[in-house]
């Protein structure tokens, strides 16, 4: 998909993420401080504003970088830094890409993950958004071709990564002192990570169906 198609997809993702605020809020109320939904709502509202009718990106990398910069500068909190870093570090890796195919998307996610590792120092198994992200990165490594052929599967795998956070004990962030009491509850940031890919998948598939 090219930059203008991706713009429509990411605008859809943004609207759906804003609509997911109550779900994310509830999740962060259980094991965090309850502000994750509000933070994502604030960030993706800014993304909606960014991607207005006048917005045009040279390529998919610029689009993803602008989204990352917008999230990083409007959200604050752990997730502003983390998701901002994901998009910005991912975009840097795919600089100049005109087309977001599966390989490019994998490179985007993998570089984003590396950026998140570097920024926050958390590892897989620490019950963060990393657990959804790393699943998507690992799975997409061996795929190729158009993103519409693979995005649904990647979304399913990210969702499995999210589900796995229920069985993890938080070792970072505000859930840390909960210790074992965090068991059984999914990580809010991991929900966001899985949702972003799921909404991408949903929109891309709709476009395919329409076309």
């Amino acid at each position: 998909m090219n930059a203008s198609q991706l713009k429509l997809t990411m605008a859809f993702v943004a609207r759906e993420m804003v609509a997911s605020e109550p779900l994310l809020t509830k999740a962060d109320q259980v094991i965090g401080d309850g502000d994750h939904g509000i933070g994502m709502e604030r960030g993706f509202n800014a993304v909606i504003e960014l991607l207005d009718d006048n917005y045009q990106a040279e390529d998919v990398s610029v689009l993803m970088k602008d989204i990352g910069t917008t999230m990083m500068s409007t959200m604050g909190g752990a997730s502003g830094a983390i998701f901002g870093t994901l998009f910005r570090a991912g975009a840097k890796q795919i600089k100049g890409a005109q087309n977001l195919d599966t390989e490019t998307f994998h490179h985007f996610l993998a570089a984003g993950l590396a950026g998140v590792y570097k920024r926050g120092g958390a590892k897989p198994g620490d019950k963060t958004m990393i657990d959804a992200l790393v699943a998507a990165v690992d799975y997409s490594k061996d795929l190729s071709g158009a993103l519409e052929n693979n995005i649904e599967d990647i979304a399913v795998i990210a969702q499995q990564g999210l589900e796995a956070t229920k069985d993890m004990i938080a070792t970072t962030g505000k859930a840390k002192t909960l210790g074992e009491r965090s068991l059984g509850h999914p990580d809010p940031g991991a929900i966001s990570m899985a949702l972003i890919i799921a909404f991408m998948s949903q929109h891309i598939n709709q476009q395919v169906a329409v076309a």
């Binding site: 809020t25 401080d33 502000d35 509000i38 990083m72 909190g77 830094a81 962030g173 002192t177 909960l178």
Partner: protein, 336 residues
């Protein structure tokens, strides 16, 4: 669900609370504070032309922390995020640029993942601009991690003491490293722990951050409702104060004759009556331990919305820190 009440508050649009309260703070302090354009960051009106600058900040919702401690002898600026959310890197960066006099900027803030990451990004961006920064994370909450993992502890009301010493040192000394050294020593000499009786709420979601049965309290509760070390039946105030101070003295080796500053901090909705009854017992208990109290603060210094309960903080003094503590300061929430 123990408690199905909803928070009851006088606000306007629930998404605007952080911004509106910031405007209210600036309006109330227009002689001493100004807001930076478009962001929630406050800087001193009387910023000296030449000094190592002190920048603090963090999520809103803990008022009067952080902007309440911007002024002469304290922080030079505060960069604020939304309720319980660290400020974004560009907010911090813009504030850094506004107060740097060429002598560098020291970041002082509570040790939370969100703050750490956002301030770190800002500091990298400042480095791109050739502004020197140094980061001091406050980790005074003894309830939040064991001593051998002190750098995992949360920063709570102890921020205030670290800012006081940094602000005084940055007025008195010209040397960046000298200011950093004494401020880090003050940070290392600061210990806190709190007790919560009821929860604060996140205004945007209009819900409490936790639930506590009517006859229970939680020792070591965090400022965002992070779980503490123990949930117990309510006890007489003196016993609770003893428990809190015992946690602190098990963590930090005081000698008889040591001098400290004592802060009894309202987490939000406790009454002055309760704070002062705690002050009474804390003084008795410290006297029993042979610890001398140089100065006492009692009041709302670092809150968690309408959380009921209080925290106790001790700053162990040495000659230099004491001298700096005694220097005058002038801000919305602390004057000496």
């Amino acid at each position: 669900m123990v408690n199905i009440r909803k928070p009851k508050k006088l606000i306007n649009n629930r998404m605007d609370v952080a911004k509106e309260q910031f405007e209210g703070l600036i309006a109330a302090n227009k002689n001493t504070l100004k807001a930076l354009p478009k962001i929630t960051a406050a800087i001193r009106n009387d910023m000296p032309a030449q000094k190592v600058a002190i920048l603090t900040g963090g999520g809103s919702g803990h008022e009067p922390l952080f902007a309440g401690y911007v002024g002469q002898g304290l922080a030079d600026a505060a960069a604020l995020g939304d309720i319980f959310a660290a400020p974004a890197p560009n907010v911090i960066l813009q504030t850094t640029e506004a107060i740097d006099t060429g002598k560098g900027v020291i970041y002082i803030y509570g040790n939370y993942a969100g703050d750490n990451m956002n301030f770190d990004i800002a500091s990298e961006l400042a480095d791109d601009d050739d502004i020197k920064t140094h980061t001091i994370r406050v980790w005074d909450d003894v309830a939040s991690a064991p001593l051998d993992k002190i750098e995992e502890r949360r920063g709570v009301a102890g921020d205030l003491y670290v800012l006081k010493i940094a602000g005084a040192a940055s007025e008195k000394y010209d040397d960046f490293d000298e200011i950093v050294a004494v401020t880090e020593r003050a940070r290392d000499n600061t210990r806190s722990i709190g007790v919560a009786l009821s929860a604060g709420s996140v205004p945007q979601t209009n819900t409490f951050t936790f639930q506590l049965p009517d006859d229970e309290m939680e020792i070591g509760m965090g400022l965002h409702g992070e779980p503490g070390v123990s949930r117990e039946k309510m006890q007489p105030a003196d016993a609770v104060v003893d428990t809190l101070i015992n946690h602190i003295i098990e963590d930090f080796k005081y000698q008889s004759g040591d001098e400290v500053c004592l802060l009894i901090n309202n987490l939000g909705a406790s009454t002055y009556m309760e704070l002062l009854i705690a002050s009474r017992r804390a003084h008795q208990k410290l006297e029993e331990l042979g610890i001398l109290v140089h100065d006492t603060l009692v009041g709302n210094y670092c809150t968690s919305q309408e959380m009921s309960g209080y925290s106790i903080t001790l700053l162990k003094l040495d000659d230099e820190i004491k001298q700096l503590y005694n220097q005058p300061c002038n801000s919305f929430a602390l004057r000496k």
